[in-house]
């Protein structure tokens, strides 16, 4: 086995292998050992992915596995990485490792921690397979591998207060995604009927889509990924799934699984689509922008923190789709950047939301108050993540969205300029709405009057406090809101361990956008040829 083969196959085999080992350990010895194996497996996978990233180039080429797999259908075991997939692979292995590490300290209420860890590893293997696959059928297979375990994760470890709700959420998640992937598969078949191959690299380099079949294939594939990304109005499974899933499930769903959709657009939809078709591409871009505004408006009216974060994903992924639909190098760069940033930031937001739920037993925004005073560090991490998510320049969230807007203003010459300029302006207003709802959450959930606070002069409009009377962490908690533990604990060590990579990378990608942009640019030029 060559170096490349070992590296790429290993990326899928290691998490699967450790899942198997952990499964054996859980059966034969103890759950603790199984969990330990799973954590080690995720860390090794992360290390392995770093090695793969370091030893591969930024374009698809010699660093690949290409073997015959199902000969009768000419399906090939074709794996490879380039600058488009590497950032997503690294982000996925990192998030998966963070999720598993966070399980060490935090046992799910209903037990079965080792099984949960094993399922996470299986999901990770499926996701990595998707990011590596360069054969359409192979992609579909890995796509399904990543889906089914997630159904179990939501169904068995979801919201313990709402069994019916979590079952409904899990089922809806599965139905939507599997139906989406079926549409996608049909699209792939249509592409093959025209091109005679499932190999997307060949398709990208030589296929000139035209005619009804090509349009139908493009639409089917777009619809399939629209479910996963999600694109309005196919987002409907997402709020339920994300809010009912356990913390690690929500993190993985938002940070990693949604990226299968956005990556699918870049890798599999763009090559089979001709931007000069009159309606298809502008329509996809418009749906992305509708998602941005719709998601933000939905967030403004949400009363549940996890649902709010879930809807915010609809908006952020709208930027990714808008960027991809510009059919420019800058657009793909923006899409990859926004995908990675969304993974880091929303992952962090869901981790914090989970930590809040652990402490207070609820994510109902009406019941959560004055977290600045009760758990100042946790609240500060949330405020940081919120600032990153609302696209504050200097943090990772900004660049992806800014570049998406730039790409929309500077779209491919064959696309209608006026439409895309309008979409860019609308998307920019989505950023303002995003700021509005995150500030509303900070105001309602983190801030507030802990004790009775009277203004200094009741007659005047303005109040000045020379010294605040509130000591952080030692507040009198108002009896209205429910508190589970008598002693409220702030962020503990294992949480810092699991979260700090996300915090640090949000900062790093905020100040150094060049880290990601250059390799993506090279990969796009190589992959799409003349773009």
């Amino acid at each position: 086995m060559s170096h490349a083969e070992a590296a790429l196959n290993g990326l899928v085999a290691i998490p699967l292998g450790f899942a198997l080992l952990a499964g054996l350990a859980a059966r034969r010895t103890s759950d603790r050992l199984a969990l330990g194996l799973a954590v080690v497996g995720s860390l090794i996978t992360f290390g392995w992915s770093v090695w793969v990233a370091a030893s591969s180039g930024s374009t698809l080429g010699a660093f690949a596995v290409d073997k015959s797999w199902i000969t009768s259908m000419n399906v090939r075991w074709h794996l490879g990485v380039d600058g488009i997939s590497t950032p997503l692979i690294l982000m996925s292995t990192l998030i998966a490792a963070c999720c598993l590490v966070s399980l060490v300290k935090h046992a799910p209420v209903c037990g079965g921690r080792a099984t949960l860890a094993i399922l996470l590893l299986v999901i990770e293997a499926g996701v990595l397979g998707c990011f590596l696959a360069l054969d359409m059928v192979l992609f579909f297979v890995f796509f399904e591998v990543a889906l089914i375990p997630m159904w179990f994760v939501i169904e068995s470890w979801g919201d313990e207060h709402d069994e019916a709700g979590r079952r409904r959420a899990a089922t809806r998640f599965l139905i939507f995604t599997v139906l989406g992937s079926a549409l996608m598969l049909v699209g792939f078949m249509l592409v093959r009927s025209v091109t005679g191959t499932f190999d997307i690299v060949e398709v990208a380099s030589s296929y000139q889509p035209s005619g009804t079949t090509a349009v139908a294939a493009s639409l089917l594939i777009a619809a399939g990924f629209a479910v996963k990304t999600p694109l309005w109005p196919l987002h409907i499974w997402l709020p339920d799934a994300h809010s009912k899933a356990p913390t690690v499930g929500s993190v993985l769903l938002a940070a990693v699984l949604l990226k299968l959709g956005s990556y699918g657009y870049l890798r599999f939809w763009m090559p089979v689509t001709d931007p000069s078709w009159e309606l298809v591409v502008p329509m996809v871009a418009a749906l992305g922008v509708v998602g941005i505004l719709y998601g933000a408006l939905a967030c403004l009216a949400q009363t549940d923190l996890k649902r709010l974060i879930a809807y915010s994903s609809v908006g952020h992924m709208g930027f990714v789709v808008l960027a991809a639909a510009t059919f420019t190098v800058g657009g793909v760069q923006a899409a990859v950047y926004a995908s990675v940033a969304h993974g880091l930031i929303t992952g962090l937001l869901f981790f914090v939301a989970g930590a809040i739920k652990d402490r207070y037993g609820t994510t109902d925004l009406a019941q959560l108050k004055v977290l600045y005073g009760r758990v100042p560090r946790l609240a500060a991490v949330f405020a940081f993540a919120a600032m990153a998510s609302l696209g504050l320049p200097g943090l990772a969230g900004f660049w992806g969205e800014m570049l998406a807007i730039r790409a929309a203003l500077d779209q491919s010459a064959v696309l209608p300029g006026g439409t895309f300029a309008t979409l860019a302006v609308l998307a920019a207003f989505g950023v303002i709405l995003t700021s509005a709802y995150f500030l509303a959450v900070i105001r309602g959930m983190l801030q507030g009057a802990p004790a009775e606070v009277r203004p200094v002069n009741p007659g005047t409009e303005s109040v000045e406090l020379v010294s605040a009377e509130v000591e952080p962490g030692s507040l009198v908690v108002d009896p209205v809101s429910l508190v589970v533990e008598p002693v409220e604990t702030d962020v503990h060590v294992m949480e810092w361990v699991a979260w700090s990579p996300l915090i640090v990378l949000t900062l790093v990608f905020g100040v150094a956008p060049g880290l990601l942009l250059s390799p993506v640019g090279e990969a796009v030029r190589a992959y799409f040829g003349g773009m």
């Binding site: 089922t171 800058g330 200094v456 009741p458 000045e464 509130v470």
Partner: protein, 631 residues
């Protein structure tokens, strides 16, 4: 030199990180780090800035560049005369604010995060003034907005602090979209994001008159938001619940001053776009008068000062609109000195009377706060334009430029210049009136307890009601008084700069900054106005001469509420309901009558997932085969 620039940029952030790390574990260490880093920052800023003043060549440096689609995004910096004076201003005020805060927030449990945010604020302003790449500028620009958001809501237990912070952030961020789109347009037009490259390309000419009007107007929108000009002026007075030293920082040297800086930095672009200049001039003329009027009727000391900032910034925008670059920058510097002084002195007064910002709670403090009285008198004098303090000279330079533009204007339409000039004259008189009124109400008249006739309830309630109702007034600690005295030096002597502008701007600068006739006539008008106000005050038994007049709250807020906030809220509710009831309907299998999807859904909801999965996979496979056969 560029190494020092990196130090200057990194230092505030490092200090903020260190402050947050140490946190509550070492109170005195935090204070040492915050004040020490600010002092070091000031020293480095001096070393970087002084060689760049006068005839020096601008210092440009590029540290990193991103090869991406479109123009490169670079980590590039550019220090010219303008950057140099802004660096000095920002770091001086930031240092004094950190020192002052040692006393002002001595007992505050949130001091560590406060000090860290002040440091980040300083770093962000530094980034703005030395940035060459427009994106670096935008990062600093919005980082300042975020810092001010957190600092305004420092006392987050107060509803007005929470509301004011959100309002400030949302209004400025919406306006910032103008900057974002201006950057994108300039980048695609000039194939570069470097300010120096773009500005020299514009200065070299070759562009039609007003060809670049759109980016210039977009920039105007951004600075109108950031500098709280009409019609986005309402956030600044509502930002007053923040700690007073923060107001000094925001008003004197960072945040709102950044708007003036941006127009000065991109002045060639504005000069090539008369549309934007006319717009800027009209906005300035309206804003200065409106804000001064609000200042005249406000009963809250900090709000008087906040409105006066809005009004004085409008002077600077007016000057820039008529092409008087040096006059605008000098007025910005003078304003930085005296407004910093006024806010810090106001903090000292507020500290002394136990936390109230209402002028009704003050009065007759002259003898009890002698140091504050002396320094604040000089500050008010400079604000009102009393000769020979700094504000007198710089305001004269600004107004002289406006008059010249009105007489033989080339940049803006003559009637706009006349409106601007007349507004400047009227506003100057209003400024005298509100300064004198505030000064009289705070330091003269009767002590608050006796003078205030509001029922039996004591007006000034100490914060924890257990203490005695009568607040003991006392002079502030030395850490708060020293910054006051230090700021009086530039406030009193800074006006001399108009005599030697070449020391700052170099010999090429040919703007006439001294207008003797105008200065004499303005001084006469100022004296008459002051006498009128004084007479009114005496006539009203040495109390507020116009308590009975209440100016309604800025009506623009209502417009925003009706036109924007409520529709958005309504739409949000609509979306929520829609998502639940309409879009959800298809997912819930409301179309169970329809076969196909409805059947699959029912199957799945029975929990029979294997059966359902089989159906889906088989279905997909069947479709796939069909597709294959078709082909």
């Amino acid at each position: 030199m560029s190494g020092l620039l990196v130090v200057l940029l990194v230092l505030p952030f490092a200090s903020a990180a260190a402050t947050m790390m140490v946190g509550h574990r070492g109170e005195s260490a935090v204070k040492g780090i915050a004040a020490g880093a600010a002092a070091l920052g000031l020293a480095v800023a001096c070393v970087v800035a002084f060689p760049s003043l006068g005839d020096a060549e601008p210092l440009g440096s590029v540290f990193a560049s991103t090869s991406s689609a479109g123009p490169a995004i670079e980590l590039s910096f550019y220090v010219d005369q303008l950057s140099a004076v802004m660096l000095l201003l920002a770091h001086t005020v930031a240092f004094l604010v950190q020192v002052y805060s040692l006393g002002y927030l001595a007992d505050d449990s949130r001091y560590p995060s406060y000090a860290a945010l002040v440091s980040i604020f300083t770093g962000a302003m530094t980034m703005v003034v030395v940035a060459d790449d427009l994106w670096v500028l935008l990062v600093g620009w919005e980082l300042m907005g975020a810092c001010s958001y957190f600092l305004i809501s420092h006392h987050w237990e107060l509803p007005e602090a929470r509301a004011g912070a959100v309002k400030a952030f949302l209004m400025t961020r919406t306006a910032d979209l103008g900057l974002l789109f201006a950057i994108l347009m300039l980048g695609s037009r000039f194939d570069s994001y470097r300010i120096s490259t773009i500005m020299s390309a514009i200065a070299e000419g070759g562009f039609g008159r007003d060809e670049l009007w759109l980016p210039a107007v977009l920039l105007t929108a951004a600075v109108v938001g950031k500098s709280a000009q009409f019609p986005l002026h309402t956030w600044l007075p509502d930002a007053m619940p923040g700690p007073t030293p923060i107001s000094a920082l925001i008003h004197a040297a960072t945040m709102v001053a950044a708007g003036v800086f941006l127009v000065a930095r991109t002045h060639p672009l504005f000069l090539s776009a008369p549309t934007a200049l006319n717009l800027l001039a009209v906005v300035a003329a309206v804003t200065m008068f409106l804000a001064a009027t609000y200042a005249l009727f406000s009963s809250d000391l900090k709000r008087v000062l906040a409105w006066s900032t809005v009004s004085q910034l409008a002077y600077m925008f007016g000057a820039l609109a008529v092409g008087a670059y040096s006059a605008a920058v000098l007025h910005l510097l003078a304003h930085g000195a005296f407004k910093g002084l006024l806010f810090l002195a106001a903090g000292s007064v507020i500290h002394a009377v136990g936390g109230s910002t209402s002028m009704a709670a003050m009065g007759a403090l002259r003898d009890r706060l002698p140091d504050t009285f002396l320094t604040m008198t000089i500050g008010f004098g400079a604000l009102a334009g009393v000769a020979p303090l700094a504000g007198f000279f710089t305001k004269d330079a600004v107004m002289g430029a406006a008059l010249e533009a009105a007489q033989d204007g080339r940049l803006v339409w003559p009637w706009v210049a006349w409106v601007l000039f007349l507004s400047m004259v009227v506003t100057a008189l209003l400024t005298v009136a509100y300064s004198l009124r505030a000064w009289l109400l705070v330091f003269f008249g009767e002590p608050a307890m006796v003078a205030e006739p509001v029922g039996a309830k004591p007006v000034v309630e100490p914060f924890d009601g257990a203490q005695e109702p009568l607040v003991e007034t006392h002079e502030s600690p030395w850490s708060m008084r020293i910054p006051l005295y230090l700021l009086t030096i530039p406030t009193a002597l800074g006006g001399l700069a108009v005599a030697y502008p070449e020391l700052i701007f170099g010999a090429e600068n040919e703007e006439s900054l001294v207008h003797a006739e105008l200065a004499v006539s303005m001084t006469a008008l100022v004296a008459v106005t002051a006498a009128l106000v004084f007479w009114q005050w005496r006539r009203h038994e040495r109390r507020d001469p116009w308590t009975s007049l209440v100016l309604p709250h800025p009506p623009v807020d209502r417009v925003y509420d009706v036109a924007l906030v409520r529709p958005v809220r309504g739409m949000a509710q609509l979306v929520r309901v829609g998502d639940r009831d309409v879009v959800d309907a298809y997912a819930n299998g409301a179309g169970a009558s329809a076969r196909g999807l409805g059947w699959v859904l029912r199957l799945a909801q029975n929990g029979n997932v294997q059966g359902y999965l089989m159906v889906v996979v088989v279905g997909a496979a069947a479709l796939a085969v069909a597709a294959g056969v078709m082909a």
